[in-house]
Symmetry: none
Subunit: 427 residues, 2 copies
């Protein structure tokens, strides 16, 4: 296949992405597919050189895909493969290639069966168009939904891969079906390699300051600072080098940056801090219970989002109302009255109380003012107490977090996981 | 100004958006600016008809902007106005318009002062290029950062507005400076009006089938189906009509679609189902407690994400481990042993148990198999029991949900909120 490389950086393969959907164009849905595609393709040394978004309009889809084909010869689309009349991708691209659309009878029958077993009903007629494939095109299996993807190619080797718009289906099909197909066709040349170091609890500009103070620390690699309410990710990238050289360079830069960052570093890649905490507990056969006020279950949800968390997490108490803090966690009425619900004695009693209630080993507690209401001069919105109790010892911290209600809650849960991690490793 | 309308739908003003940055193209940053621009412009009756993303490369920026100008004549860019050498937007677009870049001495002096007062240091020389403006172009004030935006226009009335890439600065400049400028130049013509109907618990194709069966139901409006793990949103759009006419048309179409959809409809716009449940409780002075197994706190987190939820939500128990179900919620050991943790008696006892523990009025419970492990032939992954207890009566449902662990958990929480809503309204 012809990966036209003129527009790409470092001579690697190049593709363009066209994402399709009125909801994307009108801004009602944020386009996460394009970012996922770009990140995944970069790992194969394939550069995304242009991205376009058009609405659910056959003319606009055809125009955008034709221009991308003329420039780059390799195009991935997402969206517009659904069952409704505004799903026009297969029609527009079949037209562009001068092909008819034919029903794939085997796929149609599979879809009918799927409806009978899964939804206990006959397949609606609207779904029929999901079994239509341009003549001479190849079906890309979808193990996560009903619409197949489509690979279509012309005599000059120019191709379009059509993927669904639902992120889970798109990601599944990309990994299961499209990537293996692309790997077979890729020219062997230098890749883009990157590595992400995850940090939490240190401000972006402070991190940049620490790193800038060490001359040459990132030589040969690019560094990008990616802040979010969970912390700041540092992405290191090496381009156009032979894979082994790039990997070695990344490893040495990463190691220097890690030691410069110090305690705030908790993992690499897409490691979730909740996973790190679960692994540390699992290694020592410790169980976790949570006691949450302002986060209302978010910390428990973070921990139990990780598959296999049930051998570590026993559960806990959502103590949103003070009566629950007293009745279920044994927080003392007089401390609540004197110090307030957002205070050191209360957070410590919550952590101890949930251990007494559940018999777990590590107790984590959060109480704070997430806003927008409820702040005072002494305890403004963003004031949050967190605590971790393990082996009879309790660590508690007062924080002043910024952002809106959602961010303050997310930062609270993340900070409590970091407190748990440091407690477990004795930092 | 010439809002070329050939590419637009319904004759309203049309613009294209070009977002600029390697971070966007490589997928390390999600492009939220484009969505914000599109939503904001739609309110003025301006359609975004195409969106493109290019990297920090002067040639690519120039090419994308030129193509957009040729098609639509009106372009908004974001990004590439920063102080570093990879910020090429102003240079590329000045070249395209055949203009030189001149230093705006007044702005340069303002920036120097800002560094002295804000950062207590002299401005780095790198920032100098942020004061460079193409000859004949107009500066757009930035009250939220140091780089001004730029408005550039040719003799034919074709224009480009360059905004910064940092979302907070972009949004500020859009609202403060660009929108007022656009409003003055807009042709007086119809707006785009849209309305979103939110549904849950009904498959997308089943909804489409119901709606398609009523001839003419959406006449004069477009309908888009927007599925997510929380349900399917139906977005109705009317274009190019006079505002009052468009609003009346939307109201009548929305009312017909609502009655066709029936029970699955829970709200409009960006209404959160958790808010609907809280409002229903608040109106009857009812309090809520949750008992969560497989969702691990997600339902509590959903409810308490809503500001002001503390007058309704008392809290609850995360009963992830069976010992917690027995010890804290009073679930019977023999039912657990005979029926298993994912069963009707257990979910009913969880809902009743959390009411007994907390004294709340409405008890919501979830127990299920979120996967990827733990499924059996009788109870495959996705099997979830949910229950709602109110005034001594309990409703319980068994569901078979699809998707990965995250989706099954999200769908479980949403389905439980919907069960709560129907219980409260007596549906």
């Amino acid at each position: 296949v012809n990966f036209v490389s003129s527009a790409s950086k470092g001579g690697a393969g190049a593709v363009e992405i066209v994402t399709i959907g009125d909801e994307l164009l009108l801004g009602f849905t944020i386009d996460t597919n394009a970012a996922h595609l770009a990140r995944t393709l970069a790992g194969l040394g394939v550069s995304v050189v242009r991205r376009a978004t058009v609405g659910d309009d056959a003319h606009a889809i055809g125009a955008a895909v034709r221009e991308a084909l003329d420039r780059t010869g390799a195009v991935i689309t997402t969206g517009g493969l659904g069952p409704t009349s505004d799903d026009r991708t297969r029609h527009a691209i079949a037209d562009l290639f001068g092909r008819t659309l034919d029903v794939d009878e085997a796929h149609l029958e599979w879809m009918r069966q799927r409806w009978r077993t899964r939804f206990k009903t006959e397949m609606p007629e609207a779904n029929r168009q999901q079994a239509m494939i341009p003549a001479g095109a190849r079906k890309l299996d979808n193990h996560h939904g009903s619409a197949p993807g489509i690979w279509i190619e012309d005599d000059a080797g120019r191709w379009v891969a059509m993927l669904p718009g639902v992120p889970r289906e798109m990601r599944g099909m990309l990994g299961d079906t499209l990537l293996p197909l692309l790997v077979d066709r890729l020219p062997s040349q230098g890749a883009i390699r990157s590595r992400t170091l995850r940090t939490t609890g240190i401000a972006e500009s402070l991190l940049a300051d620490r790193i800038d103070r060490v001359p040459g620390i990132t030589d040969g690699a690019e560094i990008a600072y990616l802040p979010s309410p969970d912390g700041v990710d540092l992405r290191l990238t090496v381009r156009g080098k032979e894979t082994k050289v790039a990997d070695e360079l990344l490893t040495s830069v990463a190691s220097r940056v890690r030691s410069t960052v110090g305690k705030g570093f908790y993992g690499e890649g897409d490691t979730d801090l909740a996973s790190v905490v679960l692994d540390l507990c699992r290694a020592r056969t410790l169980s976790i219970a949570v006691a949450e006020s302002c986060t209302g279950g978010l910390l428990g949800a973070r921990l139990t989002a990780i598959p296999g968390s049930s051998d570590v997490v026993v559960g806990g108490v959502i103590a949103y109302d003070n009566k629950i803090k007293v009745g279920l966690l044994g927080v003392r009425d007089d401390d609540l009255a004197r110090e307030g619900a957002v205070s050191e004695p209360v957070v410590c009693q919550m952590a101890a109380g949930v251990l007494a209630r559940t018999g777990a080993d590590l107790g984590l507690a959060i109480t704070g003012i997430a806003g927008p209401g409820g702040g005072t001069t002494e305890k403004p919105v963003g004031t949050v107490w967190i605590a971790a109790t393990l082996g009879g010892e309790t660590r508690a911290h007062r924080m002043l977090l910024w952002g809106d209600r959602d961010e303050i809650r997310r930062r609270s849960a993340q900070a409590t996981l970091e407190l748990a991690r440091r407690t477990l490793v004795g930092e």
